[in-house]
């Protein structure tokens, strides 16, 4: 399916995509995980993750991208991300109030610091990435398959 010359763009685009799409996905994950240290965060990183799948879909056609992330997986992950963010919010009730930062703060400039903020970033990243990819999937695929 991935080498089918009928679907997607030309061989040049497919070869470049094979090299770059993993790096784009990795950069998105880096932006999400370092959200509390450097510019970026859950939303921007999630959009970059979604863009890597959009890149895959534009280059190889919709079947390859859908085989990586199907519609059911997309909607499940979207719900899991939203629930995880709400769970982080509700964890604050263990010490008294909504969205209280109850985990250990750690020392600044470390990757494992800032308590619940990285967890919120990961949850928003999953939610935004999968959600925007699902929107793209709906706008491009479902419309054509009338």
């Amino acid at each position: 399916m991935i080498n089918n010359p009928e679907t997607g763009m030309t061989l040049i685009v497919k070869t470049i995509t094979r090299l770059t799409v993993g790096l784009i996905l990795l950069f998105g994950i880096y932006i999400i995980l370092h959200g509390h240290l450097s510019p970026g965060g859950g939303f921007a990183g999630g959009v970059i993750v979604a863009l890597s799948f959009v890149h895959l879909m534009l280059a190889f056609g919709k079947d390859v991208a859908v085989s990586r992330v199907s519609k059911n997986l997309a909607s499940n992950l979207e719900s899991i991300g939203a629930m995880m963010f709400l769970l982080v919010a509700l964890l604050g009730f263990l010490r008294g109030s909504f969205f209280l930062n109850i985990l250990a703060k750690g020392s600044p400039f470390n990757l494992f610091s800032a308590g619940t903020i990285p967890l919120s970033n990961i949850a928003i990243g999953i939610k935004v990435g999968v959600g925007l990819f699902a929107i793209f999937l709906a706008l491009v695929v479902l419309e054509r398959s009338k």
């Binding site: 240290l37 510019p39 970026g40 965060g41 969205f99 610091s113 929107i135 706008l139 479902l142």
Partner: protein, 173 residues
């Protein structure tokens, strides 16, 4: 100075996006507005917003180009133009009135009243442990707002999936 050049360029590109006849050219002009806005955020020293604006603009451009590339919709301008023009002028007047009422209370551009910001800047790192103060504000001090935004995005995804899915189940006869 750079900011004024960018703003003039954005206004020019927005007028081009409205006036040009071809739909694809219009989408590209809208993209030029977005990228100039990204540069404006960088000039104003807001890298968080610049990154977000850049990636969202790219995704929007891909979706818009993909959606418009084979459909050059004709522009319908005839019809009830008197009513349309009057209602447009009315909405602009109401918008200007309310924005005048709201904006006259604000401080001048570039002169923030450092009341809330000062507290965040002083206590942000010690209270949250996050070095990026923007993340500390949106995910700790003002996390409730972020929950609302996440809900908005969730609702929009549900709405798009509901509208654009394949035709729904038919009732069994």
């Amino acid at each position: 100075m750079e900011l004024h050049i960018l703003l003039i360029f954005m206004i020019f590109a927005a007028i081009v996006a409205i006036e040009v006849k071809d739909l694809l050219s219009s989408v590209i002009a809208v993209g030029a507005v977005g990228f100039a806005l990204c540069l404006a955020f960088l000039v104003l020293k807001a890298p968080d917003l610049a990154i977000t604006q850049l990636v969202v603009e790219i995704l929007c451009l891909i979706i818009l180009i993909r959606a418009t590339i084979n459909k050059d919709l004709p522009l319908v301008i005839e019809g009830r133009w008197v009513f349309n023009a009057l209602s447009t002028l009315g909405f602009i007047a109401v918008f200007l009135l309310f924005s005048w009422l709201a904006l006259r209370e604000l401080p001048r551009f570039g002169e923030p009243i450092m009341e809330v910001v000062k507290k965040y800047l002083q206590e942000g790192v010690s209270k949250t442990g996050a070095v990026n103060i923007v993340t500390a504000v949106i995910l700790d001090f003002r996390a409730y707002d972020t929950l609302g935004e996440a809900t908005v995005l969730f609702t929009s995804v549900i709405g798009i999936m509901a509208i654009l899915r394949k035709p729904g189940r038919k009732k069994k006869e």
